[in-house]
Amino acid sequence: MLVLWMVATLTFFAIRLIPGDPAEAILGGPGSQTSPEALAAVRAEYGLDQPVLVQYLAQLARLATGDLGRSYSLDQDVAPLLVGQLGGTLLLAVLALAVAWLLALGLATWSTRGGRVAWYLGSGLEIVAAALPHFWLATALIVLFSVWLGWLPPISTSGVSGLVLPVLTLAVPLAGFLGQIMRESLLTALESPFVLSARARGESERGVRWVHVIRHASLPAISLSGWAFGSLISGAVVVETIFARPGLGRTLLNAVTVRDVPVVVGAVLIVAVGYILMTLFTDLAQRIADPRLRAR
């Protein structure tokens, strides 16, 4: 709750720092010719003629009752607007997280058992992947798969094929991060005495990995996934814009451009709630994966 209040406050004041008149934005943007009377009417209607502090308190009061307000620019209630956009972004983020995990685990496993070449190749790939910016990767993927190969659409369509490129764009850099961490803990686990014990029992290499090591390797990556989910949502802003995909990220970006305060605050609040839920979820997942935490 405290976190949500801080998020709402920061967002409210941060957007006030952007130069320009919100009333103008409501009436069609800075370029439009608006009469002073119309401006004054709009200001009165949205409470923009009040002092900033009063506006802030009024907004807090509304937020506290669950009312996210009404969009300046779209003339819609914010809550249903954002909820409609939420599904697409969540799907994108969850898929990206899952794909990142698979990629990271695959890469870490391959690079720790495929000999020296695989080791250097694997760690090199991880570093490169982790360093890739979303906008560059998205462009490169579009050029490769849409322009040259023509396999996948360059903009996001409603089908599965439209999801592949956005998900990959988000997943690859994250997989780089997760892979580095997993490989580290994978190696530690592989050298531990309990793995020697398991081998001495006649456990196969595959058994050692699936029964013992993978769980140990996942622990730090699980705790990182909460943070990763947050970064995925912010990555979604870029990715949804590039692939012209409807979603929370793109709505947020548009709202910031036109200074649509209620939408921005609402969107940021929803992301914050998502982040908090995800952190709770990773805590739970950690407890399931590591029973030692339950005893405490």
């Binding site: 309990f194 001495a200 029992r201 006649g202 196969s204 029964v211 994966a289 005893a295």
Partner: protein, 590 residues
Amino acid sequence: MSDESGVGASVGAPGEGDGGVAPAVRVQNLVVGFGPQNDTDPVLNGVSFEVAPGECLALVGESGSGKSVTARSLLGLAGDNAWVRADELSLAGSDVRGLSEQSWRRRRGRDVGLVLQDALVSLDPLRPVGREIADSLRLHTRLGAAARHARVLEVLARVGLSDAGNSVRKRAGELSGGQRQRALIAAAIALDPPLLIADEPTTALDVTVQAQILELLTGLKLAGTGILLISHDLAVVGRIADRIAVLSEGRIVEQGPAHAILTRPEHPVTRQMLAAIPVDKPRGLRLSPRAAAPVSPAAAPFLALSDRADPVAPRNTVLEATGLVKRFTRPDGTEQLAVDGVSFRLERGTTLGIVGESGSGKTTTARLALALTRPDAGEVRVLGQPFSAASEKERRLLRPRLGAVYQDALSSFDPRLSVEQVLRDAVGGGRTGRGAASASATTAATAATAATASAADRLRVLALLDAVGLPQGLLGRRPLSLSGGQRQRVSIARALASGPQILICDEPVSSLDVTVQAQVLDLLDELQRNLGLSLLFISHDLGVIQHVSDQVAVMLDGRIVETGATARVFAAPEHPYTQTLLGAVPRIGF
């Protein structure tokens, strides 16, 4: 239930040409190396031995002698980059040289079981022990889940784990040290392999638990399992071994019946190992061959600085604790009395040994004595002055009089600092206090005096190295590249840097091999005599305590249950707990 099916699989083909039962393991001229095949300096160089069913052979040697490599080679787990050659290497009567990985897997667990040192990390800490034990059955038999469970309970009962029904569901971390070591043994003998390799199976355990585990292994031996016991400690193996092979630098230097090796050792390595055992050796008797560099008289004035300049009137009691109490809150909210009314006096120039098993409150007592933890009641006085009751600012004046040596020397060093930096830090801190030193260097003092101070520091660092018998060549090395014994010497040197009168040693030799332990104990003894140090020596090892202490205090559950002169306590223990402890000490005696 139908749990006879498949379990206790046949012991393999009867011995060919031996005319009897096949040995559980037989090794002829085993050579193992890491690196190029034609390596002239392999890790193991021509090792030969055999273990018959129902017999225990102890393979004894210092760390680095090749014991663990031998164990792993017998399991086909010497490592990816290792090469293994042997004239004969057979398990349960059949040749295992050049086996494919798949055939090896079928044999591991069935023909040979492995027990490692620390069950806390040798059983998967995330899985219940029952699952770990059932793994062997899953891998080697066609038993169903219910039959496996029944068999697991059976094995747990066999290793004497009380309350097996509950224990199967617990993870290694939830069991006590002895329980989890039993569970680890259970996992190794689930299929009743004819050979059990036990690699330092009791090294991390308290003496009473150690005695129980050795008893369990003896029971297995009598039931027909061949045991290859690997250890650095001759006193431990003396309890159960029928024969002993002494390994040194990859070769077996002496092999024979246990009694003969322990009473009439022929090879110098064996003699040195026997001499290193501290049990029943009177105080002051050297345990190791004389070191090359005893404390040179020239170094002494550097080291005993604070003793000379001591403004405090000489008193006989240098460290005194009265009625110390320390409570900790457990995670579940209940309170635990870690230290419960502990009082002791450390007299000048003597050693007070505090002995107790894990959880008895020894380490907390050490931390209280160093005023690193605030007591809930009671007081610590150093050189007659209030210490625990004083403010940290006042305490800092007395801190240089106290030095501390811990068990795990490696983790007590900053791994990025070289030995010289570690010691210079300690020397600088002991002389003026770090803040004052840097302030004077930057403001008041001229460059010349700073240089003099630096030169004096360097002299002192060299004197310290000399005092602990380390060559100057080690100055540039980092702690990671030192051996365990060298690290402990560096940490003793660091403790001496401030010129202390009292040295508090918390398990200073517990992670060392017996021979290295002997050297460190001799060093401490020598330093004590030359510098007039008073030692508070904390250990779980009664043998060590008996050897080093003038006075001894036995701790149990946070209390001192018996205290007195060492000779008296060891000859005529009064408290039943002391009697139990003494009964469990491994000694060589027939």
